[in-house]
């Protein structure tokens, strides 16, 4: 639809929904009422903006409309006098004086409530999407491939627990902030991956998950400037999203990083990512998201695949391994070392890993080994390793790739 008023409402929905709901929850303490009134405020906008014009501050207009609606409903409910007083009180000073931007934002409060560790993880994600991003229950259900009724129940239960177990609607105290922030970031990362991993299917709902995750990560990073991992996560998402258009070919098959058309990467997103990451790293408290973002930045800022700074990537993986020791990280480090110092150096690391036995059964271990052996010209050993990988490979695309390699070396 090209109607500019309709477009303004859509834009307001994307940017203001979380704000309106968060404010209404603070004022009424009632999650369902808050969502209902926010919905009605947007419906009212659709009816009156074409007639009266788009207001100067759509967010304030919508919040006021939603609050008046809540006032109406509570008045009809009558018994709710204290809440009514609270509403009336805050309604008076609102029209021209929205909350100053430097007070803890209602959306932040809402995010910490949705991502409270006393709620099951699936419920945290669903609730974040629903109350902060305004996704409908059927949309969330479709994105996570569960029946609508299941998702609806998950959301109802989560809201009920927030009420019954008295989960506080507030940003946690300073000493709990770091661990609670990591929960919020974890949910946003999950959201992003859910949308990103599926972008091959070009499903609109899933792509909008990616966009919402980035939008919310921008909000969190903006509201918590002293939390470097928030910036790290935002930067990581931006670098990945910048490459989205080139990740698959016309047939929908994955295109590897080395073969992607770098001229089609989104420079604006990459520049923003670099800026955000630099600010985060300047705080001097590196964490897993910042390090992963720094690795993604090495790829995103290399003009050609062969310009990639593999030595830096290898060093970054070493830091990741120090924070979160894991054999998969070691395997990635081996790949970077092989690119920087040659396949023999990579092979030594991978053989050490194989002896440790931690990755037994993981097809990428023999596949990586095979690749190093091939590059060293040790074809026979490479074929044996490719065969070992083929036995373990989980997907058809990977099996086809491995079989092709075997065919090339052992015709």
């Amino acid at each position: 639809m090209t109607d500019p008023v309709r477009a303004a409402v859509d834009e307001a929905f994307r940017t203001e929904w979380g704000h309106v709901v968060a404010t209404l929850i603070r004022v009424t303490g009632d999650w369902d009422l808050a969502e209902e009134c926010a919905q009605e405020a947007f419906a009212k906008a659709l009816a009156s903006w074409p007639r009266d014009g788009v207001p100067r501050r759509p967010g304030a207009w919508l919040t006021t409309a939603a609050r008046n609606r809540a006032l109406d409903k509570l008045r009809r409910g009558a018994a709710e006098e204290t809440r009514l007083r609270g509403l009336a009180l805050t309604a008076a000073d609102d029209d021209e004086a929205p909350e100053p931007d430097d007070v803890p934002d209602d959306r932040l409060r809402l995010m910490f409530t949705c991502c409270h560790p006393a709620l099951p993880l699936e419920a945290q994600v669903a609730l974040t999407l629903r109350t902060l991003a305004g996704l409908t229950t059927p949309e969330i259900a479709r994105a996570f491939l569960v029946p609508e009724a299941t998702m609806a129940q998950r959301i109802v239960r989560a809201k009920r627990k927030i009420r019954n177990a008295r989960i506080p609607y507030r940003v946690p105290p300073a000493e709990l902030l770091p661990e609670r922030t990591s929960g919020v970031l974890g949910v946003l990362y999950l959201l992003f991956n859910e949308g990103y991993a599926a972008s091959a299917g070009a499903d609109l709902v899933r792509q909008s998950l990616t966009a919402e995750a980035i939008r919310l990560a921008r909000v969190v990073a903006g509201l918590l400037p002293a939390a470097p991992e928030a910036g790290g996560l935002l930067a990581l998402m931006l670098f990945h999203d910048a490459r989205r258009a080139t990740r698959t070919d016309d047939a929908g098959d994955l295109v590897t990083l080395a073969d992607q058309d770098r001229t089609r990467w989104d420079r604006t997103l990459i520049d923003e990512g670099v800026r955000v990451l630099d600010e985060a790293l300047a705080l001097g408290r590196p964490g897993p998201y910042q390090l992963q973002a720094a690795i993604a930045a090495c790829h995103a800022t290399a003009a050609r695949a062969e310009d990639t700074d593999w030595a830096r990537i290898a060093r970054l993986y070493e830091l990741v391994a120090r924070l979160n020791p894991s054999p998969v990280v070691e395997l990635n480090r081996a790949v970077a070392v092989a690119m920087a110092d040659g396949p023999a150096a990579g092979l030594a690391l991978v053989d050490g890993l194989a002896e440790g036995g931690n990755l037994a059964g993981y097809h990428l271990l023999p596949a990586t080994r095979a690749d190093f052996l091939r590059r060293l010209g040790r074809d026979e050993e490479a074929v044996a390793a490719y065969r070992a990988a083929l036995d373990l490979a989980p997907t058809g695309a990977e099996r086809r790739y491995l079989a092709r390699r075997i065919g090339e070396l052992d015709p």
């Binding site: 409270h116 560790p117 006393a118 709620l119 099951p120 419920a123 239960r157 009920r160 627990k161 019954n164 177990a165 661990e179």
Partner: protein, 104 residues
């Protein structure tokens, strides 16, 4: 002596009109100091304070089919009397009651 009594039930089996423990409360009289129903396990929060931090998670600590639906505190002469009082609890017919003397 004081006893804590857990009313343990399979949550799927409760919810009938006969569950109402008002009569039992009246009959227990002064031997029952206090007691309450608990919200279902879906509203439970479990925490593990460790190494200066507190790990919080959703759900009950004990992952069993039977769950604690409520508790009462009894003041009885001995275990025999506590068993007499507890056995009459209507909800106990759907599950079990655990009696634990309060340390003292």
């Amino acid at each position: 002596m004081k006893f804590l009594m857990w009313v343990c039930v399979d949550p799927e089996l409760v919810g009938t009109a006969e569950d109402k423990p008002q009569d039992w409360v009246a009959e227990a009289g002064e031997r029952r100091l206090e007691g309450h129903r608990l919200r279902p396990v879906s509203d439970a929060t479990t925490l593990w304070p460790r190494d200066g931090g507190t790990f919080v998670s959703d759900g009950p600590f004990a992952e069993t089919k039977e769950q604690i639906a409520g508790y009462d505190i009894l003041e009885c002469a001995d275990l025999a009397e506590a068993i007499d009082v507890a056995a009459a609890h209507p909800v106990a017919r759907f599950g079990a009651i655990e009696l634990r003397p309060v340390w003292g």
